[in-house]
Amino acid sequence: MRKLIKKEILDLIRDPRIILPFIFAPIIFLVLGGIASQSVQSTVSEIVEPSLIKVNIIYEEKIPQDFINYLQNVSEKEKVIIYFTQKEKDISNILKETDYDVYILIPKGFFEKIERKETGEIYTFSKTTEFRLGSITGIKEIRVVRIIENYIKEKYINSTEILNFISRPLNYYSLVYLPSKNLLVSSQSLSSLFFGIFIASIIILSLGAIIMQISSTSTAIENEYKTLEILLLLPISRFKIFLAKLIGTFIVSMIGLSLFLIGFVFYLYLLFFSVTQPTQNLPFISIAIDPFSLALLIASFVISLLFMASLGVIIGALSNDVRLANTLIGPVFILLFFPAFYIIILTPSSPIKDILMSIPFLQTLIFSKEILLTNFKITHLIYLINSLLIILVLIYIIGRIFSLETLLNLQNKISRRFKKRI
């Protein structure tokens, strides 16, 4: 019995296909942890070491001089620069045209309420064009809200007024402005939106894996059942043979995924409607998701499927059986997974983003994340064309190497590496 267990363990440990995932797992978590901590860190450092923020206080009627004086006195200590704007235009116009870290809207009758020692109500706004974990925590808004609270508390500290008012002199509603969509949404719903998109991205990721699986299996089976030789000898160019395989897999995947695609579009709209419920007398100029953006997203999705299918065909062609193909999918998928996770959690800055945006699949992840925050512009179309070009080049290259001679050479190299102990 003990001998048998030993044999079992040795047999498994010596199979690199078994060990590989175990080695990968800790590495994955290390990298993912690094990415996530970077995002959390920026939030934490904001709490520990507050940065200088520019605040625009928008008022609807004249504000008392002592309030202005108070803000100016504390501004250095609290690290805020305060600007005042009289609200004449639509609030979203102010948000669109100016660029502050935090906007505070003090509605009509606010100071009268304070005089009457009733809880006052204000709105906070922040602008965002990107989506990341730290961007929706509203830490900067809270700092400004506290300052205003302190003003009220200090004003009434010596009078013995209603306790409730002292403990909670202010209600505030935190909103986020999306410039590209000219849209206001509440911070809370934005964070649910974030998780909605997070889940959608995970689903897209796993779909990519499924497609890679389908196409690599169907190609590896040709090797395993020894049908590839016959296929390669048909009086058709090898490029066409490869293309036929690719398109075949692609159509099967599309049939399987068309339902998903419909569901996904619905999902996006549902998510969107859930965050655009009007909040009190605030303007909502909702355009939701415009058809151009949606068309680009779907096109990008289709290109991604094609990309994953061709990766699968390559893997399958290089594996002389299905088991090996399944094993090879792991590392290849992980290569895509790292940048994908990076994209989901953070928003990459411009040179990196330009590259990632042009890579099929990663592009779809970014698109699906951005579509809720911005309307796509012509640059998105350019990214889409880039990714299409990448696909075409990829297909062309594979078509060229799709001969038994090259495949055999590569297969031997790969299986020697993977099958040493079986």
Binding site: K226, E229, I230, L233
Partner: protein, 234 residues
């Protein structure tokens, strides 16, 4: 020609000449290099050195043209499990002939060679080894290639299937003037179907010519003795 797999020299120097319309047999022990030779002739592999011409076409530079006139039956035949035999033959016929009148003739011919009765409408995963060979042989012959390359077509089959396959080879050689290149290690089989043979061992052609000439040259009574004498004599 010479073929190396990495550092291993599978074919050390093969020189063969096969005439049109003959049934040529390549005989030799396992690992002699028969399959490698066939794969090079059928354009699947590239020769490391030397060249092969099939009806005047070079297998490397004119592989497209070669592929149009040959058919290859691999040693280990594979089938698509979830496709029926009929669908498979139909696919091959349409790839070769499109929608022309030749298409339906080829399909008919294929069904005739396969001779599977109603089982031809069955998914190929349910076929026995012999049935799979029959379907593949049907594929090879239905297009009436100028050269049919059959790698050990009867190895592993029972007597009845082997006999049928030999019969078909002889029949189609006469009927459609198809040149056959067959490998085997069954000497009786070789004797019944072919007049010309080459004996290959360790990547080298030990002897080649018509069976009658060779019997005379080596002063032996039958092909078995001939084979042993040549293989052992080296």
């Amino acid at each position: 020609m010479v073929k190396r797999y990495g550092y291993f020299e599978a074919l050390k120097g093969i020189n063969l000449n096969i005439d049109e319309k003959e049934i040529f047999a390549l005989v030799g022990p396992n690992g002699a290099g028969k399959t490698t030779t066939f794969k090079i002739i059928s354009t699947l592999l590239l020769p490391t050195m030397g060249q092969v011409k099939v009806f005047g076409y070079d297998t490397v530079n004119e592989s497209d043209k070669v592929r149009k006139i040959i058919s290859y039956l691999p040693e280990e035949v594979g089938v698509y499990k979830n496709i029926t035999g009929y669908e498979y033959l139909d696919l091959i016929a349409s790839i070769y002939f499109g929608n022309s009148s030749e298409y339906s003739k080829a399909l008919e011919l294929g069904i005739e060679v396969a001779n599977l009765g109603s089982r031809i409408y069955d998914k190929m995963k349910n076929y026995s080894k012999g049935m799979k060979k029959r379907i593949q042989l049907a594929r090879v012959l239905m297009t009436k290639p100028k050269l049919a390359i059959l790698d050990e077509p009867t190895t592993g089959l029972d007597f009845e299937y082997s006999y049928e396959i030999r019969k078909i080879i002889l029949e189609y050689n006469k009927k459609f003037n198809i040149t056959f290149l067959v490998s085997s290690h069954n000497l009786q089989e070789v004797e019944t179907i072919s007049s010309k043979i080459a004996i290959i061992k360790g990547g080298l052609i030990m002897e080649y010519g018509s069976i009658d000439d060779l019997l005379e040259k080596y002063q032996v009574k039958n092909i078995e003795e001939l084979y042993i004498k040549i293989i052992k004599g080296s």
